[in-house]
C-alpha cells in the first residue's frame, strides 16, 4: 500500500539494484563478497533474523544496550528519590522503623529499574529504527521479503547498474531489478 506520508518523510528513491534471493547461503555469500569489495552501504532483507547474515554483515553491536542501561539507572534513581523524598517530606514514624528505610524501598527501586529500563529499550529501538527508516524508505521493497525470500539492495549509479546486476545474478539472485 502506498503510504501518503512517505513523501514527507523520505527523499527521492536511491538509485541501485535490488536482488531477490531464495536461499540463505547465496545471500550470505553475496553479502560477504560485497564486504570484501569494501561496500558498507548495501541493505539486506530477511523474513527472520539469521546469525549467518548478521555475521556476514558484521555491523557493530546495537546502541540499544546503552538505552537499556541508562533507563535502568534512571529508574533505580527515581525509585530511590520517590520513596526517600516522600518519606522525609512527611515523616511519620510507624512501629519504631526508620523514616527512610532502605530494605523495603529496594522493592520499588527494583520495579522502577525494570520499568524505566524496558521503556527506554523500546525508545532505543524506535529511535534507531526511525533513523534507519529515513534511508530505507528510499529503497525498493518486495512483499516476499516478509515471507520466504531474502533481498540485497546495492546502491549504485545508473551506469554501474549492469555490473551490479551481473554480480547479484552470479551470486544466485533469482530476480534483479533496477531502482
Amino acid at each position: 500500500m502506498k503510504n501518503p506520508l512517505a513523501a514527507l518523510f523520505h527523499g527521492p528513491m536511491t538509485p541501485g539494484v535490488l536482488g531477490v534471493f531464495g536461499h540463505l547461503d547465496d545471500t550470505t555469500r553475496a553479502v560477504k563478497d560485497l564486504k570484501a569489495d569494501g561496500r558498507e552501504d548495501f541493505t539486506v532483507f530477511s523474513p527472520m533474523p539469521r546469525h549467518e547474515l548478521e555475521d556476514a554483515i558484521d555491523r557493530p553491536p546495537s546502541s540499544v544496550r546503552m538505552y537499556t542501561l541508562i533507563g535502568g539507572i534512571a529508574g533505580c534513581s527515581v525509585g530511590a528519590w520517590v520513596t526517600l523524598y516522600m518519606s522525609y517530606d512527611w515523616p511519620i514514624q510507624v512501629g519504631g522503623k526508620p523514616i527512610g528505610s532502605i530494605p523495603p524501598y529496594v522493592v520499588i527501586m527494583f520495579e522502577m529499574t525494570v520499568l524505566f529500563g524496558a521503556l527506554n529499550t523500546l525508545l532505543g529501538v524506535a529511535l534507531n529504527a526511525l533513523r534507519a527508516a529515513r534511508r530505507e524508505g528510499t529503497i525498493p521493497y518486495d512483499p516476499r521479503f516478509s515471507n520466504d525470500k531474502f533481498g540485497v539492495f546495492v546502491p549504485c549509479r545508473p551506469d554501474q547498474a549492469g555490473t551490479t546486476e551481473a554480480f547479484l545474478k552470479q551470486h544466485g539472485a533469482e530476480e534483479v531489478r533496477r531502482a
Binding site: N3, H23, L24, D25, D26, T28, R29, K32, T43, V44, F45, S46, P47, M48, P49, R50, L53, E54, I57, R59, S62, V64, R65, T68, V82, T83, Y85, M86, S87, D89, W90, I92, V94, S101, P104, V107, I108, F110, E111, M112, V114, L115, G117, A118, T121, L122, G124, V125, A129, A132, A133, E136, G137, Y141, P143, S146, N147, D148, K149, G172
Partner: protein, 450 residues
C-alpha cells in the same frame, strides 16, 4: 517457494511460505464456534457489569463481607488473574533466554494471555476499594490531600509491581508482533491491509531493523525475567507480611511463583487446545508442544505440592499454635470443601502427568488444565477468605462469611472480560509468531554453505 526440511516438531514438510500462510489463515473467517465462544464471553461480561453496577449503587455490603473477612472473592480473583499472567512471561522471556526452541509456536498465545490477565487482575483492586471514583488515591504522589503513601507496605509495592508488569508485558507483546504484522500486511487486502500497514510501523525486515530489534528484544526478555519472579513474590508478601496464621510464612514467595506458573501454564493449555482446533493450527502447534507444557505443569505442580506438604508439616510440628489451628480449620472447618478442592486439584491431580500417555492426550490435558485452574482459584480463596474466617486470634467472632451473587457475578464477568479480549486478539493478530517459527526451521539453502 523456498523448500526447507520438516522441523523436528512436525510430521509434515513445513516451509517459510507454509508458516506464513497457515498463520495468516487464522485471520480469516473462524466459523460459528468462534462466534459462539465470543458470545458466551460477552454474555458473562454483561452479567459482571450488571453486578458491578448494583455494587456501585448499594455498596460493598452486597459482596458478603462480614468481620473479619474483608478480603474475599475480589482479592481471590486478583491473585488468581495475576497468577494466570505469570506463565506468559515465563514462556516468552525465560524460555527465550534459555534458547528453548519449542516455545516459538506457543509463546504468542501465552504472552497475549499475560497482558489480558493483568488487565483483568487490575480491575479487582478498583472493584474492591468500593468508591472507584477515588481510585487515584492508590497512586503514590508527594503528599497532598492528607494522603500518606507508606512505602513500607507491600500493598504499595504491589501497585508498582503490577503496573510495571503490565507495561513491560505489553511492550514485549507489541514488539514481538511488529515483524509478524508486517508479514500478514504483505498478504492482506482491504481494511486489514490498512490496519496492518499502520500497526507494523513500517517494518521491512532490513538488517538494520533486525539488528536493533534483536538486541532490544533480548534486553526486554532479560528485564522481564527477574520481573516475573518479583511480581508474584510481591503479591505473596501482601499476605506474608501480615500476622495472620497461615499467611505469615517465609516460603510464600517461591510457593506463590510456582503456583502462578502452574495455573498460567494450565490456562495456556486450556486456551491453546480450542484455538488450535478452531484455527487449524495442528501443523504448527503439535503434540510435542503440549507435552512440554504438561511437563512444565508437572514440575510446578510438584513444587506446589511440596509447599502444601511443608505448610501442613510445619503446622503439625509446631504444636498447638494458632498456625496449627488455622490448618486444622482449613482441613476440617466449615469450608473443608474449598480446602480439599484445592488439595485434590493441585496436589494430587498433577501426578497423573507423569504418564506420557496422559501428557500426549489432548482431551485428558484439557480436562486436567481446567481442574488445575479450578484448584488454583480455590487455593487463593482458601488462603484469603477461609483463613480470615477461621482466624483463631478472635475466637469470639464466628464469621458467617458466604460469597453472594454479586461476588460470583463479578467473578464470571472477569472471565468474560478476559476471554473477550483474548478471542478478539487471536482473530485479528497473528496468534503464533511467524518470524520465530521460521527461525527454528532449517533455512532454505542451495547447498554451498556460507
Amino acid at each position: 517457494m523456498a523448500q526447507t526440511t520438516a522441523p523436528p516438531t512436525s510430521g509434515v514438510r513445513v516451509t517459510y511460505d507454509y508458516v506464513t500462510r497457515v498463520i495468516h489463515r487464522t485471520l480469516g473467517d473462524p466459523g460459528k464456534g468462534y462466534f459462539a465462544l465470543l458470545g458466551v464471553a460477552v454474555g458473562l461480561l454483561t452479567i459482571g457489569i450488571i453486578c458491578l453496577l448494583f455494587l456501585l449503587r448499594y455498596g460493598l455490603g452486597l459482596a458478603g463481607y462480614s468481620h473479619p473477612v474483608y478480603w474475599a472473592v475480589f482479592i481471590t480473583c486478583f491473585v488468581f488473574w495475576v497468577g494466570i499472567a505469570h506463565s506468559g512471561t515465563l514462556i516468552s522471556a525465560i524460555l527465550f533466554l534459555f534458547r528453548s526452541a519449542w516455545r516459538t509456536a506457543v509463546y504468542r498465545v501465552a504472552e497475549a494471555m499475560t497482558v489480558f490477565a493483568v488487565m483483568t487482575a487490575g480491575l479487582f483492586p478498583l472493584i474492591h476499594i468500593g468508591r472507584q471514583w477515588y481510585f487515584y488515591w492508590l497512586v503514590p504522589y508527594p503528599n497532598e490531600r492528607g494522603l500518606w503513601p507508606n512505602f513500607k507496605s507491600p500493598l504499595i509495592w504491589d501497585e508498582f509491581a503490577i503496573g510495571t508488569y503490565f507495561t513491560v508485558s505489553t511492550c514485549f507483546l507489541i514488539m514481538g508482533l511488529i515483524p509478524d504484522i508486517a508479514a500478514v500486511r504483505d498478504l492482506a487486502t482491504g481494511w486489514r491491509k490498512k490496519l496492518y500497514a499502520i500497526t507494523s510501523l513500517g517494518w521491512r525486515g532490513t538488517n538494520e531493523q533486525w539488528r536493533h530489534y534483536s538486541r532490544g528484544y533480548l534486553y526486554l526478555a532479560a528485564l522481564a525475567t527477574p520481573l516475573v519472579l518479583s511480581v508474584h513474590s510481591v503479591v505473596s508478601w501482601d499476605f506474608a507480611m501480615a500476622q495472620v496464621p497461615a499467611w505469615h510464612e517465609t516460603i510464600f514467595a517461591p510457593y506463590f511463583v510456582a503456583g502462578a506458573i502452574y495455573s498460567g501454564v494450565a490456562m495456556v493449555i486450556s486456551l491453546l487446545i480450542p484455538i488450535r482446533r478452531l484455527f487449524h493450527l495442528e501443523e504448527v502447534v503439535t503434540i510435542r508442544h503440549f507435552e512440554n507444557l504438561a511437563k512444565l505443569c508437572l514440575l510446578t505442580g510438584m513444587i506446589v505440592g511440596f509447599a502444601y506438604t511443608t505448610e501442613y508439616f510445619i503446622a503439625w510440628y509446631g504444636g498447638p499454635t494458632p498456625e496449627h489451628k488455622a490448618f486444622y480449620y482449613r482441613a476440617f472447618g466449615p469450608f473443608w470443601w474449598a480446602g480439599w478442592t484445592m488439595n485434590v486439584c493441585n496436589w494430587f491431580l498433577p501426578w497423573i502427568l507423569w504418564f506420557k500417555k496422559v501428557r500426549t492426550n489432548l482431551t485428558a490435558l484439557f480436562v486436567i488444565s481446567i481442574f488445575v485452574n479450578i484448584g488454583m482459584w480455590f487455593e487463593r480463596f482458601t488462603l484469603i477468605a477461609i483463613h480470615l474466617a477461621g482466624e483463631p486470634f478472635e475466637p469470639f467472632v464466628k464469621a458467617g462469611y458466604n460469597p453472594t451473587w454479586a461476588d460470583w457475578g463479578i467473578m464470571a464477568g472477569s472471565f468474560g472480560w478476559f476471554f473477550m479480549w483474548f478471542l478478539l486478539f487471536v482473530k485479528n493478530f497473528p496468534a503464533v509468531s511467524i518470524s520465530e517459527v521460521k527461525e527454528v526451521l532449517p533455512p532454505p539453502v542451495r547447498g554451498r554453505h556460507a
